[in-house]
Each structure stands twice: as C-alpha cells, then as structure tokens.
C-alpha cells in the first residue's frame, strides 16, 4: 500500500466532502487519517490516503479535475514508506490556552519557547473571537511533555511571554487513566 497526503481548500459550501470522497472511493483509495474543518470562509481538508497500486501523482490521472473545475485547490504529496505512521510520542499531555485582546504574534512566541525546550506540539488551533470592537485572539495547543518536564516548568518558561506580551496563559496537564 502506497500513501499520499491530499489537501483540498475552497470556499465553503455544502457538498465538498461528498464530491471529494466519491472520487476517492471510485479510485479505490483508503482513507487512513483525516482532518477537515472550516478556517475563515474556506473549507479545508487534509487527508492521508492509501492505495494498493498507485505510486505517484500521474497514477491519479485526471481524477481531481472535477474538483479544480469546482474552484477547489488540490495538492497531492507522495509519502515515503512509513510516512503514514504516527510517531509514538511518550509523555503526559498538556493543554495550553493563550488569549489576549490583540495579536502580538502569540503563536510564534509560545511555539518558540516550546521549541527551545524540545516540547512537541501535537495539535494547535487559533481563533479570533469576541466582537468586532473588542476582538479576542485565542490559541489552544496540545503538547506532549517528555519525561522530566512538568506543568510547572511550562508555566515558568512561558512566564516571560505572559508578562512581555500581556497575554493570559493557562497550562493544564490532562491525566491519562486506565479504566
């Protein structure tokens, strides 16, 4: 089985998921992993596909043309063997919420701190909420804390960002329980 990463972006409307997945079904693709969401006014799809025979972009032929004709942007990445397998990241899960009334590049500043400390970000979402007069910029990210890193460490490392940018930051670990 060869794997591909397919991304599709276009102005949101009903029917995109159905049109895309009908094509994939008819091509004989397996959906291995996916995340689809509305970002701004755009519907975005990121899909990891498997196919028993296809090996490259040409294998798909003109399959995606109807999508392009419908004003969707389509990009296909051919994965190297093993590129479809999620890495096993060991450690406690930590959620970090950051919000403020302005946008002083909170993603960059927080990510930079985490990157310096080799903390792995596994999920990240940002949203502009609040009213037009009083917008609130929110980021929620999930990180995995490797052994030896505690919630207090993250708090301490992010304290300068909190003070300098005047943003609110909360850090909480989510206990993993076996039931």
């Amino acid at each position: 089985m060869n794997h591909f990463a397919l991304t599709i972006v276009g102005r949101d409307r009903p029917g995109i998921v159905s049109q895309v997945t009908e094509i994939l079904f008819k091509q004989g693709c397996n959906l291995a992993d996916s995340s689809c969401s509305i970002l701004g006014g755009q519907f975005t799809m990121i899909l990891i596909l498997g196919h028993p025979e296809f090996t490259n972009r040409e294998s798909f032929g003109e399959a995606f043309k109807p999508l392009e004709d419908a004003d969707l942007t389509v990009a296909l990445r051919v994965l190297k063997p093993g590129g479809e397998i999620r890495p096993q990241i060991e450690g406690d899960i930590c959620m970090i919420s950051v919000y403020c009334s302005d946008k002083p590049c909170i993603v960059y500043h927080v990510a930079q701190v985490l990157s310096e400390k080799q903390v792995n970000i596994t999920d990240l979402n940002t949203k502009l909420v609040g009213t037009e007069e009083r917008p609130v910029y929110v980021m929620v990210l999930e990180a995995v804390l490797s052994e030896g890193i505690e919630e207090e460490d993250i708090n301490r490392w992010l304290a300068p960002v909190r003070d300098e940018l005047q943003v609110d930051i909360t850090v909480r670990t989510i206990p993993t329980v076996e039931l």
């Binding site: 995340s35 206990p175 329980v177």
Partner: protein, 167 residues
Amino acid sequence: MAVRSIRIYPDPILKQVVERVEEVDETVIAVIQDLVDTMVDSGHSVGVAAPQIGELCRALVVDVSKSKLGKDNNHGLLEMVNPEIIEKSGSKMMREGCMSVPDYTGNVTRAEHIVIEFTDRAGQPRVIEANGFEAVAIQHELDHLDGMLFLDRVSSLKTDLYRRKTR
C-alpha cells in the same frame, strides 16, 4: 472465581443496554467475583463492568484506592448492582483509556461529584457520594452497562484520540 478475558470492540456485547438485575443471587455474586478477580489480575485496571467479561448483568466493580489519582479519596472496593446516578455536579476532564478499546485514549469530560445508588453484593441498597477520579471511574463503567464506550463521549478525534502511552 475466575479471571476472565476482556471483550474487545467490535464485540457486540459492548454495545448492548443491560437489563436490571431482579435479585442478587448466586449467579450475580459469581459475576461480581469474576469482575473483581479480572480487575485485580490486570494490575492497572481500576474498574470493570460485566459486559466487558461477556456477562449481560447490570453490575460493575470499581477500586481506585491503589491508583495515584484516587488513593486519597475513595470508598475502597465498590461492587455495584443496578447502579444509578441520582445527582451529579462539576466537571472534570481526563484522558480515558479502556481495556475494551486497546491502544487509544481520548479526552472525556464527566461530572466531578456524583451521588449514586446501587445494590451491593449482600443485596443491600446503598447510596454513596463519590468525587474526582472515583466518580469518573464509576461513570465510565456505568456507561458500559448502557452500551456506551468512551468513544461515544469524545468530541473531536483529532485532538481527543491519541495512541495510549505504553506502560
């Protein structure tokens, strides 16, 4: 008195709503004992519900007293027949894993405090108040009696479902 094997999804018994027990007789007591034996044998488990060992019996066992998160606030070994939550409040998110859905964990928000009534092994009605991890564990096991898995409670696969830490 036996350690039983744990049923794993897609075993259909895990999706069945289990009928109430009419009377705590020898058959029910035997199921409870098997639940305890199975829980203890697994080493890391803090609760098992009857459908997980293949029994359509409205019974569960929970014991969080030996776990780090529950050791300071618990009722020890709880053996419950016909458990029913009569009050709940607060909310607590934990990343739950389940022996019947191996290798995955998901963030689930449940009530932090519950009042629960049940019949114990001796056939006596009881009402207890449970908090924190013990309350979460009871709610997780009680879901099994209603054919619910934690997969029915997670809100988003992308952020909530995660390959479990290896032990």
